[in-house]
């Protein structure tokens, strides 16, 4: 492949940022200066060798953005030289990810969440106040109209963001600052004054630890949260850590998988696939190597359980990954953490490094990869594309990841919470694990309580707990408020009515009731909230996050949002039935003909608002 490079040159800062990641170029063949005469006739670095580094494309973009705040022509060109990637191809990747800026942008950016859980907690008022006091949110579309001198003189901007996974501290923001000493931090309970202070250069207070309100003796997955120092390997070991890995090594792959299969553990990411079956399918694949991918791209609006686990019990995830790798024959794992989780990434990296330094991870390598603002990358095949350095476009299945996954090899993809269960299963035995919960949904589950409950947070409960008990556990609603709806399972889940609170939260009960546990989202919505506004925000979320690959989802999600806007504008309700019929047809096509789960579930919550909540019936408003 002969690459035609971009004329623009990278700045010294940009080169340094890339070289710090990839090491210095070895010759003019991979981006170095033309000083060595031998370079003129001897290819010092082969194209194959460079292209094998393609998976470093997204990390390279992150490095550029962290250093200078955006991906410039020169910067992109240098990355292309280093990795032998065609510039158009690299441009396609850079423009796919929402966190990457492809036009000049001030170095300090405050991402303000205006998604559903934050909307229930004053995000609309917050963003309105910001618009009033500091001007409209920055967007790439508005960039060309702003003069370049304007961009140069501004040191900071605020932009709107989808769910930041900080719903227990809504409304939330996420600060990124590029430069020699880049900084990024999630900030909970943000106010308009707080955002203004950040824009003026204030440093946010250090993040506080997550605490759990539940009785510690009842906890399993959350037992260390808020109690055991997440940065101390010794503290982790003192609390029983790495005993499961030791036991696993004595058991061997077959016995581990037999135990996990007997526990009937099912995936906690949303699809609820039996973990033991997945592991066995990968273990028995003849093709090598096998890869383990820990899916920590937790981006489902209203979900923050994996963040809490990674921030508060990172060694447990490392241990669980080591067990999963042992069982499935992997010596390399990628942990894909969403870009908006800086603290989780930092703590996980520390836990990996500390475990490795103590010799606890022989012949096993875990590499952290950061997402860059794309919900779709949590899809199990889009995550491969993203790790491999591509646009996060889901693959068609079959073939399934257990056969053809990351780099075309057999791959096991597990969610963070799923993995967190594994050490418990090995230590206590499958029978003890399966004794908790229901017959088909075993163990405990992490539920993300958010919205209008008194004490939002992650709660651990056995499968089978009722929705009512769970909401009571979170302190119920604020005094004097009445419940209008609960969003179960996230934006890809469904709304349920206040008269359905006796629903037992198991896979089988929710399926029978026509809803889903999804990623464990339980978002309560009270009577102060514009419910139709939430539904429209969900539609906007899917329109924003569709990868654009297939027609039903690419165009369907925007048509769905347009129809909801038309209903909102149609005061008399004359077109209501026409619009609802249209929504139903678009929804059916998305559900049936989209490539992946995003399009297939993009109508789910909206459909439930129409058919379950009767939110758009004649006479209903808001």
């Amino acid at each position: 492949m002969d690459i035609r490079r971009i004329d623009a040159e990278a700045t010294v800062e940009e080169r340094d940022a890339i070289d710090a990641l990839l090491g210095p170029p070895r010759s003019a063949w991979d981006g170095g200066p033309r000083t060595n005469l031998r370079d003129a006739h001897v290819a010092m670095v082969g194209g194959h060798e460079s292209r094998a580094m393609r998976h470093m494309l997204l990390p390279a973009f992150h490095a550029l953005q962290r250093r200078v705040g955006w991906i410039s022509q020169g910067g992109l060109g240098y990355v292309c030289d280093r990795l032998n990637v065609p510039p158009a191809d690299a441009w396609g990747v850079a423009t796919f990810y929402a966190l990457l800026a492809t036009s000049p942008r001030p170095k300090r950016v405050v991402h303000v969440c205006d998604d559903i859980a934050c909307k229930c907690n004053g995000a609309d008022e917050l963003t309105a106040a910001l618009e009033e006091s500091v001007g409209p949110a920055y967007s790439h579309d508005s960039a060309p109209s702003a003069t370049s001198s304007d961009i140069e003189t501004r040191t900071s901007v605020w932009i709107r963001s989808p769910c930041l996974g900080m719903c227990d501290q809504a409304p939330a923001a996420y600060l990124t600052e590029a430069g020699e000493h880049p900084h990024e931090q999630s900030i909970g309970h943000i106010t308009a004054e707080g955002v203004r202070a950040l824009l003026e250069g204030a440093s946010p207070a250090a993040p506080s630890r997550t605490t759990v309100r539940q009785d510690p003796s009842s906890l399993r997955l959350l037992r260390r949260v808020g109690r055991v120092d997440p940065s101390s390997l010794d503290a982790y070991r003192a609390s029983g850590g790495f005993a499961a890995l030791e036991k696993a090594r004595a058991m061997g792959p077959e016995a581990i998988i037999a135990e996990v299969t007997a526990s009937r553990l099912m995936g906690r990411g949303g699809a609820a696939f039996p973990t033991g079956r997945k592991w066995d399918a990968v273990r028995t694949q003849p093709a090598t190597p096998h890869y383990l991918v820990c899916n920590a791209d937790e981006s489902e609006p209203g979900t923050f359980k994996d963040r809490v686990l990674m921030e508060e019990d990172p060694f447990a995830i490392v241990e669980a990954m080591a067990i999963a790798a042992l069982a499935t024959g992997c010596d390399k794992a990628f942990m894909y953490i969403r870009g908006e989780y800086p603290l989780a990434a930092e703590r996980m990296q520390h836990a990996i490094d500390a475990s490795r330094a103590q010799g606890l991870l022989p012949r096993f390598d875990i590499e952290i990869r950061r997402g860059a603002g794309a919900y779709i990358c949590g899809e199990e095949t889009a995550i491969f594309e993203s790790i491999e350095g591509g646009r996060g476009e889901p693959r068609n299945k079959p073939p399934f990841p257990v056969q053809v996954g990351l780099f075309g090899k057999p791959t096991v993809v597990n969610n963070v919470e799923t993995l967190a269960n594994v050490p418990l299963i090995l230590l206590d035995g499958a029978a003890a694990f399966a004794a908790v919960g229901s017959a088909q949904s075993t163990g405990t589950r992490l539920f993300c309580l958010s919205g209008n409950v008194q004490y939002p947070g992650v709660y651990e409960a056995p499968f089978g707990i009722t929705l009512r008990s769970l909401i009571e556990m979170a302190g119920g609603l604020n005094a004097g408020r009445t419940l209008r709806a609960v969003l179960l399972g996230g934006a890809a889940g469904t709304f349920v009515r206040p008269d359905e609170l006796d629903l037992r939260l198991t896979h089988e009960d929710t399926r029978a009731a026509g809803t889903t546990l999804g990623s464990g989202v339980v978002m309560a919505v009270d009577d102060t909230i514009d419910l139709r506004g939430l539904v429209t925000r969900i539609a906007a979320f899917f329109r924003d996050e569709s990868c654009g690959q297939c027609v039903p989802c690419r165009v369907g999600t925007i048509r769905q949002e347009e129809a909801l806007h038309r209903i909102a504008a149609d005061g008399a309700g004359n077109r209501r039935s026409t619009e609802l019929a249209l929504l139903d047809e678009v929804g059916a096509a998305m559900k049936d003909a989209s490539i992946c789960g995003l399009g297939q579930t993009a109508y789910s919550a909206i459909e439930s608002a129409i058919k379950r909540l009767h939110l758009y019936d004649a006479g209903a408003t808001r």
Partner: protein
């Protein structure tokens, strides 16, 4: 060694197809017509348009027939209500957002599936945008682009290995682009025109055709085609010359030609004006 035969049921008929072949090819062999947009026999299926979906008994969602491989005992429905609704919506969603006026066969398809794209309202978002004319050889009108990925495949790994264009942006904003949207002459483009050859909607068009269409002179019913051999080099690509009113108006190569697979280079595709006897201006 020939592939083993797989037996499956298509619309109630027992059909045999070679192991490893797709449902689409099994259907085509059995005389069952399935509409396609992003599929082309010379390109790797990307299964993105979702027009070729079929219903498989026991499957939760519809399957793209262009890429799903046949399995023994598969029961396929190619015109079930679910399939027909999905296809109708795919066509309506495209027709409501893209200018399909120069897409061959599209009017018939919209008619066949009873499409009413106007029901999405006059304010429905479209990909409409100014036509890009930045070089002498071809015109890019992305208001007509259905994002079938064919041009990207032809420019990139499947044929040309030039990689001048890629899909950029995402969601409804996804589009075909050079790096930083630079003009084609500033990109890696080598003007082979193989992207034009695979474009199913006329979003990519040779300048000659574009000008003739603009002036109203383009008339395919008045065109004849003549196969000949490209005179430029020793490869000897088959050229199909499209002639209208005694003048060459377009050069293509047959898709089923084993040498070219429909591809040409800049000389074969555009270098035929020397044949014309018009005086230089």
């Amino acid at each position: 060694m020939s592939a083993r035969a797989v037996e499956l049921l298509i619309d109630g008929r027992t059909v045999t197809a070679p192991e490893g072949s797709t449902i689409l090819s099994a259907c085509t062999a059995a005389g069952v017509t399935i509409p396609t947009l992003c599929f082309l026999e010379t390109l790797k299926p990307v299964n993105v348009c979702r027009l070729c979906v079929v219903e498989l008994e026991g499957a939760r969602v519809l399957a793209p027939s262009c890429s799903r491989v046949v399995e023994p005992g598969m029961t396929v429905h190619t015109r079930s209500p679910r399939v027909m609704l999905a296809r109708k919506l795919v066509l309506e969603l495209l027709a409501s957002s893209v200018d399909l006026s120069t897409a061959p066969g599209m009017a018939d398809l919209l008619n066949e599936y009873g499409c009413q794209p106007e029901r999405f309202g006059p304010a429905a978002a479209t990909v409409g945008q100014p036509t890009k004319i930045d070089n002498d050889l071809y015109v890019r009108d992305y208001g007509k682009c259905i994002l079938c990925y064919k041009c990207v495949e032809a420019c990139g790994p499947d044929h040309q290995n030039t990689f001048a264009i890629a899909v950029a942006g995402r969601g409804f904003g996804a589009h075909i682009s050079t790096e930083f949207d630079v003009h084609l002459p500033d990109s890696a483009c080598v003007y082979c025109g193989n992207c034009i050859a695979v474009c199913p909607t006329g979003a990519l068009m040779a300048s000659r055709e574009y000008e003739l269409r603009k002036s109203g002179a383009w008339d395919e019913s008045q065109q004849t085609t003549t196969d000949t051999i490209c005179p430029y080099c020793g490869v000897g690509c088959t050229l199909t010359l499209h002639v209208q009113d005694g003048e060459i108006v377009k050069a293509t190569s047959p898709l089923d030609n084993t040498i070219t697979m429909g591809n040409l280079c800049i000389k074969g595709r555009f270098g035929w004006r020397f044949v014309e006897t018009r005086p230089r201006d």
